[in-house]
């Protein structure tokens, strides 16, 4: 007979219709702006366990003995940031497996496809025998119904990185966010540049909320500060980036470079070298390639961070949840840029790491450090 999936519930409100046309959201902007200055709570020196303005929820209902099975629906590992995090996560898993907290973690990788990830979550619900769901959504709105279905199983659900439009998960783990990134970077550039200067914004691709929010904030601030900003989508292809910058330099002077992710920052800098003009003021990311080039060229820069160590947190949250400890319902992790003063420190710390490694990966205390990250052993 017909088996309507009981988990598909009628939406309570259908407000979300026009939500995506503009990415700027004043409320969120203000919230993240404020969060940047909050001193996070939590253990010193372990930023992956710290949280900002947390509202703790009780998890005693989940308290249970024994090793549990975790099911992880990953969006993808298709960029260096995600692979780095994925490596860290697996090392964290090793620790928790040894500690008898997690028996195994079954992972399905959706390879950047919403449709696949929905199927992955459904598979976990039916076949996974999961004690806890960890979900790194591929996109926000599209994954909401599937996450709700996972919640309906009564098992704890942990969402990290990108959010979903429901608060059914026990905790949603993420760094402060895109607006904070946008504010950090834009403020830096505005400080360093003069009114009327030109900033070229190199963005990866349209339509990804995490990235869009970065630009939405930065664009607004540039606008207010009278900085001329033009933006391009590069697909993270350094060759494309180099072409864009050379064309821009052919058109006129460029004083600043803003990036929504670190990939290709080196190519952008090299474009200035090749054209024989002064280095721009620049924001990249905490990817090693950028830090190294930054150091080497001595340009004026800032490396905003989208905290890679957040990949550890979901597993640690599993530990807390099954121990019945409180966790933040929205677990906002600290996210602070690497400044010129800190570069040397991070360069030294990650000396032998590959270029695609992220300086604030936060796995120094995990087994396998540093070898596993240096060799990029992807399970």
């Amino acid at each position: 007979g017909c088996t309507t999936d009981p988990n598909v519930a009628a939406p309570t409100e259908d407000a979300a219709t026009e939500e995506s046309v503009e990415w700027f959201d004043q409320e969120l902007f203000d919230k993240q702006d404020a969060e940047r200055d909050v001193v996070p709570e939590g253990p010193e020196g372990q930023p992956w366990l710290q949280h900002i303005n947390a509202e703790m929820v009780d998890t005693s209902e989940f308290a249970a003995e024994g090793a549990k099975k975790a099911c992880f629906a990953n969006a993808s590992i298709s960029n260096p940031w995600r692979t780095t995090g994925w490596i860290t996560m697996n090392q964290q898993l090793e620790v928790l497996q040894e500690a008898g907290v997690i028996s195994e973690m079954e992972t399905r990788d959706a390879q950047d496809s919403d449709d696949t990830q929905i199927a992955d979550i459904d598979y976990f619900i039916e076949e996974g025998g999961c004690d806890v769901f960890i979900i790194s959504p591929n996109s926000t709105a599209a994954m909401t119904p599937a996450v709700e279905r996972a919640c309906d199983t009564g098992k704890p659900v942990i969402v990290f990185d990108r959010g979903v439009q429901t608060d059914c998960p026990v905790t949603f783990i993420h760094p402060i966010g895109g607006f904070a990134w946008g504010i950090d970077t834009a403020e830096f550039l505005i400080d360093e540049l003069d009114e009327g200067d030109k900033v070229v914004a190199l963005r990866i691709l349209p339509g990804v909320d995490v990235l869009e929010q970065r630009w939405a904030a930065a664009e607004k601030l540039f606008d207010e500060a009278g900085i001329e900003a033009v933006d391009y989508f590069t697909g993270a292809d350094p060759a494309e980036i180099k072409k864009i910058i050379s064309d821009e330099l052919a058109k006129g002077d460029v004083q600043g470079i803003w990036m929504d992710a670190g990939d290709g920052a080196v190519a952008a800098i090299e474009a200035f070298e090749d054209a024989g003009v002064d280095y721009p003021v620049m924001t990249g990311e905490d990817e090693m390639s950028f830090l190294r080039k930054w150091k080497e060229t001595g340009l004026t820069g800032l490396a905003p961070v989208y905290s890679n160590f957040q990949w550890r947190t979901p597993l640690l949250a599993v530990q807390k949840i099954f121990a019945g400890e409180e966790v933040p319902s929205e677990w906002v992790l600290p996210q602070s840029p690497i400044t010129a003063e800190e570069v040397d420190e991070y360069l030294a710390l990650n000396e032998n790491m590959p270029d695609g490694h992220y300086a604030k990966f936060g796995g120094e205390d995990l087994p396998g450090y540093p070898q596993v990250w240096e060799d990029r052993i992807v399970p």
């Binding site: 960029n79 995600r82 692979t83 270029d355 990029r376 052993i377």
Partner: protein, 397 residues
């Protein structure tokens, strides 16, 4: 066809001939390129300065080289969709194996060339010996090679290779008068283009085109089809390797370097008037197609077209350009067919859909209606190696 008559004064006639070449399908790409370059120069006069222009050539070099490689595959009647992945793989190999040790540059370069040749060999042998359509073979290779590369590197770049190696794609001969710097890329492109022109005039190069035109004839004429075709795949993979060497210098190591190059290259080649399905085309025009495509991107950029619109404009221009040459080809051939006879037979009604053209009746046999077939074969070849595959296998070897 415009009314250019031959009894004009000779200078006028020569001009007319140039004009005709430019509007002919063979020359259309050059016309397009000239128009686009002028547009760029108008939008941004500094572009026309030699120094800027040479930079433009430097930037186009990798794409043009890939297009040159793709040209040989396409003119030989096949497709190579794996070129982008080969570029990516080579870029990553260079980054990972050379590292900061400049001394490794040469050995690794040789290794890269060997690897490129090997990929081409595998593609070619599967196409020729197992008779799998090249579209599928190279699609599989594209997936497998990219996946393998990412697996090997753990999804990220280890680091850029030594600066000495990158110099090939990035640096140049400095202190040249007018242009200031002559990038090595430009030199490499010139060398590759010269080699390609030379090669396509060589017996082997001519054989590739004949093979693309009619593989059965080629085989019956003693051509080692498997080897000639395989060699085109090796050429394309090797050219992707050279492009990779330039790109790792120009851009650095990243898994997305080279992505989409196969489609850009095919588009460039088709813009250059090369017929998909093989047997027709000029390598210089294919390279010009790459320049036209890059110039188009640049125009869109200088014209301030929002970046999101660019794909749309690109799509429209590609269709129009190809439609232009497809339709002029037809009318030109029709013209020739009638020209050939002093007293053309009254054609059957032009409505080809309902009418049988005389050639239709004779196409399967070598019946006497040879001349009429000109029009029949003017129909664009459907897809790669269609009808031909039948001929190819008919002999039953």
């Amino acid at each position: 066809m415009s009314a250019v008559t031959s009894d004009r004064p000779s200078a006028g006639a020569r001009l007319a001939r140039l004009g005709r070449t430019l509007v002919s399908p063979r020359g259309a790409v050059f016309l397009l390129l000239i128009v686009l370059l002028i547009a760029i120069a108008v939008l941004n006069p500094s572009f026309a300065e030699p120094g800027q222009f040479i930079r433009f050539i430097q930037r186009v070099a990798p794409v043009a080289i890939v297009a040159i490689g793709q040209y040989f595959v396409i003119v030989g009647g096949e497709f190579d969709l794996s070129m982008g992945s080969v570029v990516t793989a080579q870029v990553v190999i260079a980054g990972n194996l050379i590292g900061q040790d400049e001394a490794k540059s040469l050995p690794v370069l040789l290794l890269m060339l060997a690897f490129g040749a090997f990929i081409g060999l595998v593609n070619g042998l599967i196409v020729t010996l197992l008779k799998v359509p090249s579209f599928i073979v190279t699609l599989g290779m594209m997936l497998a090679l990219l996946g393998g590369t990412l697996y090997w590197t753990g999804g990220a770049a280890t680091g850029n290779p030594a600066d000495g190696f990158r110099e090939i794609g990035r640096g140049g001969i400095r202190g040249i008068p007018v242009i200031d710097i002559l990038p090595w890329s430009v030199v490499v492109l010139a060398a590759v283009l010269a080699a390609a022109i030379w090669f396509s005039k060589r017996p082997f190069g001519r054989t590739i085109i004949a093979l693309g035109d009619n593989p059965t004839t080629a085989r019956f004429s003693g051509t080692r089809n498997w080897w000639v075709k395989t060699s085109t795949f090796m050429i394309s993979s090797l050219s992707a390797t050279v492009a990779g060497v330039l790109l790792v210098g120009y851009a650095g190591v990243h898994p997305s370097v080279g992505r989409g190059y196969e489609f850009i290259a095919i588009t460039a080649v088709v813009l250059g008037g090369v017929v998909l399905g093989g047997g027709r085309g000029w390598v210089v025009a294919a390279a010009a197609g790459a320049f036209a495509l890059e110039a188009l991107f640049t125009v869109l950029n200088f014209a301030g077209v929002p970046s999101t619109y660019r794909d749309a404009v690109q799509g429209a221009i590609i269709i129009l350009a190809v439609a232009y040459s497809a339709t002029t080809f037809r009318s030109r051939r029709r013209g020739r067919g009638i020209e050939a006879s002093s007293d053309a037979p009254s054609q059957t009604s032009p409505d080809a859909a309902t009418q049988t053209s005389p050639d239709a009746a004779t196409q399967t046999s070598p019946a006497p209606a040879e001349e009429r077939d000109a029009e029949a074969s003017a129909r664009p070849a459907p897809i790669p190696s269609t009808s031909r595959a039948d001929n190819e296998t008919k002999g039953g070897s």
